[in-house]
């Protein structure tokens, strides 16, 4: 196919892809007073910031923003460190039966999350961490570890073992070699895994739905879903503004870190 035809097809298809974005933005910008479901395609006024402010107030979205930021930063950070330590043990320290240990950790990711929902809910209620930030951080960390370990092991396999031997000759302890030599070398992989997991946690709905209920603990996407059911009729433009607010951080993060994303996906798959 000639270049002109290919470009034209892509532009037309791309414009179609942007239509929902256009509709979201112009309707999220309409004041609840002028908003009508009967006239969606034409912009009327610009109350986007007022709507976002209103959305932050409704359903406790502002509280959710704070707690979700905590989840999306703390959990992947711990998971990446734990995963890197596991990879280090298997590859650099040549842990006996390393591959079996690796399969054991990675196996945690092959079954659907539905298998842990009920026991988590049950156990959290009994232990008293149902609907707590601690409980959410723990579960998000746990589900992020298998993938982190997988990618970090793959990454460390690419580092020559004499790097480790040279550090031993210098008299460094294993902890120091891990912390000062291996982790810095792996920084790009660490960032890639961190970004992927942070995006995944930010977008989580199901775990938040099952394991939390109060405004201050519920993650942002779960709050958005509740807002849609409660206010979707009367204050649709505010709900759309909420949707825009919830979606923007991950969309921007993704667009600016496409290379890291692709790298993370590629490291995870091969």
């Amino acid at each position: 196919m000639s270049r002109a035809i290919r470009t034209t097809v892509l532009i037309v298809l791309g414009l179609i892809w942007l239509l929902p974005v256009y509709l979201l933005v112009i309707n999220a910008a309409k004041s609840p007073l002028t908003f009508t479901t009967a006239e969606s395609w034409r912009p009327t006024d610009f109350s986007l910031f007022a709507n976002i402010g209103e959305a932050m107030r409704l359903s406790g979205l502002a509280d959710s923003v704070v707690s979700t930021l905590i989840y999306a930063i703390v959990s992947p950070a711990i998971a990446v460190a734990v995963g890197a330590a596991a990879g280090f043990a298997i590859v650099a320290l040549k842990l006996r039966h390393g591959f079996a240990w690796f399969v054991a950790i990675f196996g945690g990711t092959v079954f659907p999350i539905q298998m842990i929902l009920l026991p988590m809910f049950d156990a959290y209620s009994r232990v008293g961490i149902f609907d707590s930030k601690l409980g959410m951080v723990i579960v998000y960390t746990a589900i992020s570890i298998p993938f982190s370990a997988f990618v970090m092991r793959n990454f460390f396999t690419g580092i020559a073992h004499n790097v480790f031997e040279a550090s031993v000759l210098d008299g460094a302890s294993t902890w120091r070699i891990f912390y000062r030599v291996y982790l810095p070398m792996a920084s790009s992989a660490l960032v890639a895994v961190f970004i992927l997991q942070a995006t995944f946690i930010w977008n989580d709905f199901l775990l938040g739905l099952v394991l939390s209920q109060s405004d201050t603990v519920r993650p942002i996407v779960t709050t958005l879903a509740g807002m849609q059911s409660t206010y979707g009729g009367a204050q649709m433009s505010v709900v759309l503004a909420g949707g825009l607010l919830v979606s923007l951080p991950t969309v921007i993060l993704f667009l600016f870190t496409q290379k890291f994303f692709a790298r993370g996906l590629a490291l995870g798959q091969y």
Binding site: A86, R96, F111, E165, G243, Q258
Partner: protein, 301 residues
């Protein structure tokens, strides 16, 4: 570490030397995964064999929950909807993703032309649901657009089954095409130049070039994309819960939704767990098939 160690120590001794240290490094990962993922997994499997609603103790009833599950028309409808999701997400997002990757391949400005497809990728399932419920609602943006072209009698997109599942698959396609295009693009860029140029010298282009060179070369990557798509679509939950809540009357429920409802709405923990186990078995079978496919095709290329 004793002072007489050198890098040339025998392999076996070196292994033993770091044994405790290595166990210490792997322990956090193994413990967290064991306690927080495997233990719950076993517990759910056990609960699926009991009658339990959260109060009192689980009562062992063998495979009664599984029998009840297979007898339930709602379960069968959920299985069919889930299959529709698996097939639909293979056909549309993976198919269009491959198309976009092929169209932008070696094209000037391809990065920019791919951008519109990548924007929705990082939007959450609920976010996609909020946008598309607004567009597809009765008298919503889509109906208005069709009305402008004189189509007045539009279907009820989110109410009529199985149309509601189909439009939700299309909404998922809106989100998922970009990342599939990105993955296929990486695959296309890694194809070596020589066979391509040889084929072009022989006059192959367009569809023939695709069928004889590109498609076989892309097979390992295609296996990965297809496998990921199948495993993800089997677990479809967020977007359906966000757009139809499985309705009307359970007509658009997927297995993940039915599991959630039985467990957390009806408090039938045993039946909910049985559905979770069923979903897990299906997912594992699909994963094994795609991993095998991936391995065999890797050997083939």
């Amino acid at each position: 570490m004793t002072s007489d160690k050198t890098p040339t120590v025998p392999y076996r001794r070196e292994k033993d030397q770091y044994r405790w240290s290595a166990l210490g490094f792997i322990a956090p990962g193994v413990l967290l995964v064991a306690v927080l993922l495997y233990l719950p997994l076993l517990w759910t499997t056990f609960i699926s064999l009991t009658d339990y609603n959260g109060l009192g103790d689980p009562e062992f009833i063998g495979f009664d929950n599984y029998a009840e599950m297979l007898d339930d028309p709602q379960f069968l409808s959920s299985v069919l909807n889930t299959l529709l999701w698996v097939g639909g997400t293979l056909l549309v997002p993976v198919g269009i993703g491959l198309g976009v990757a092929l169209l932008t391949w070696n094209l000037k400005g391809g990065i920019w032309l791919r951008l519109p497809f990548l924007i929705p990728y990082a939007v959450s399932g609920i976010g996609v649901g909020v946008i598309w419920s607004f567009i597809l609602g009765s008298g919503g943006a889509l109906d208005q657009a069709l009305g402008a072209f004189g189509v007045a009698d539009t279907p009820r997109w989110l109410v009529d089954a199985p149309l509601n599942t189909v439009v939700m698959i299309l909404a998922t396609a809106w989100q998922g095409v970009g990342v599939n295009a990105l993955l296929f693009t990486i695959g296309l860029q890694s194809i070596p130049r020589e066979p391509l140029e040889a084929a072009k010298m022989d006059g192959a282009n367009g569809f023939r070039l695709f069928r004889s060179i590109l498609w076989p070369m892309l097979r390992p990557l295609t296996a990965v994309v297809v496998g990921l798509s199948i495993v993800a679509s089997l677990k479809t939950f967020d977007i359906v819960q966000g757009m139809t809540k499985g309705g009307p009357g359970g007509a658009s429920e997927t297995l993940a939704l039915t599991m959630y409802k039985e467990t957390f709405v009806n408090s039938d923990y045993g039946l909910g767990s049985a559905i979770a186990v069923f979903l897990t078995v299906v997912t594992l079978v699909a994963s094994i098939l795609y991993l095998r496919q991936q391995l065999s095709s890797k050997n083939g290329v």
